[in-house]
Symmetry: C2
Subunit: 262 residues, 2 copies
């Protein structure tokens, strides 16, 4: 299970300020902190990029690359920003991401097809709604996979996100359990060993007490791992959560057991 | 998922001393501590009971009952001690346990049949060896279930333990993953929604650093829970592990989400 840091978010004041003033240091410091904490990759969550999305994303990508050799995930709903980030990257980066929403199929999917980049595909309806059951997620997965293949993309480059919703939503925790079933069943459903990712902190969106967020995330993460999750987007600056992620990886690995990896 | 405290073990000096001198207080204090920590039931692990197994077990059962209303699990390899514990109990207790070993089938299983008690059945070979694969555990489960039914017992009273082994054993962590498959598949295999239990601390037997034990147990416990485990025998005096167990229970429940239950 690959651990992707979700910590680099432009909604953080230090990061938005650094982007606005073109100051790379706060960004580099955060990235180095994430790498030291155990991240295997860094997600650049650019949020709304204001008036110059291309310049801002290019700056973010170049700055993160200057601080780490870890792979990057370029995370934006803006196709122009995604293209600019990809152009600025000197190493292969993961696009995050697309869904069946027509604007994304038209603008973002061709970017993946043209560059051969890895790309995250969200199991959301065409109108952007979150499916409310495992069955609906599976139906969306079939359509999304077909759309992706029709665009001439390589299935080995696709990473599906079944979309974890907050426990505070109606039926939120039941949906979390359905997501486990979806992760388990996707390879059979699609006839392809497709990779999967989830945003772990989505489970506790809106919960303001960090300790409560942490405990639920640490209970859910091993369930995801044993369901076969390939990548997890998470807060890597919570040491106990990282240790749980590493312990899951060791328990589920085919290597000889080693405490060094826990 | 029912949380059974594994903390009352006669190998602890305070407990063996209390049994030897007939002093109930250290036992009561530990039981109250377990109940306050979140235990749903108390396992009385009597270990080797010396020269008077009947008297010792009867004393343990009476003492634990005097300290809590929680259900008891009477845990011994000695059929005489199990019978004495059951006779001393004023409330239904769970026998822990039997396996295909002939002495246990002959001496312990009839006790369950006669009293209608819940009983734990270990998936061990007839010679007491631990199966080394999921397939072998499943074969043992079929034979054990048949043996149990042939003894005239009620399948609703059976609780199967697929036997977690230490990660430090050869292939130990791979066996831990196979145990998850066994838990998932047992109801289909036996054509009965049989309950399951595991001893969580078995995973880290022989590991001397409590912090290392805890992190592995907390990574493994949610995997067990999402595989469908019904009962977990664990150290309830580790607050972080109890919180993970409760968070698992809340995530996997059909009730409305409530932080009070986490």
């Amino acid at each position: 299970m690959v651990i992707v840091a979700d910590n680099l978010q432009i909604i953080r004041n230090t990061i938005s300020g650094a982007v606005a003033t073109g100051n790379p240091e706060p960004i580099r410091a955060l990235v180095r902190q994430c790498a030291a904490a155990g991240a295997d990759a860094i997600d650049i969550n650019s949020g709304p990029l204001g008036r110059s999305p291309e310049r801002s994303m290019a700056f973010l990508v170049a700055t993160v690359e200057s601080a780490t050799d870890l792979p990057l995930m370029i995370d934006s709903a803006n196709p122009v920003a995604l293209a600019a980030g990809l152009a600025a990257a000197t190493r292969p980066a993961i696009l995050n991401g697309f869904s069946l929403e027509p604007a994304k199929v038209e603008k973002i999917l061709p970017l993946a097809a043209r560059t051969g980049s890895d790309i995250v595909g969200y199991l959301l309806g065409r109108d952007g709604h979150v499916p409310m059951s495992a069955d609906e997620r599976m139906a969306v997965a079939v359509e999304l996979f077909q759309t992706y293949m029709d665009a001439g993309c390589d299935p080995a480059r696709l990473i599906l996100d079944p979309v974890v919703v907050p426990v505070t939503w109606q039926e939120g925790h039941r949906q979390a359990v359905e997501v486990l079933d979806v992760i388990r069943q996707l390879p059979d459903l699609l006839g392809y060993p497709v990779r999967t990712i989830v945003g772990l902190s989505n489970l506790t969106t809106g919960v303001s007490i960090p300790d409560r967020r942490g405990i639920l995330e640490r209970a859910y993460l091993p369930m995801l791992a044993s369901a076969g999750l390939d990548m997890v987007l998470m807060n890597v600056l919570c040491p106990e959560s990282i240790r749980i992620a590493r312990a899951c990886r060791m328990l589920l690995s085919n290597h000889i057991f080693s405490w060094k990896k826990v």
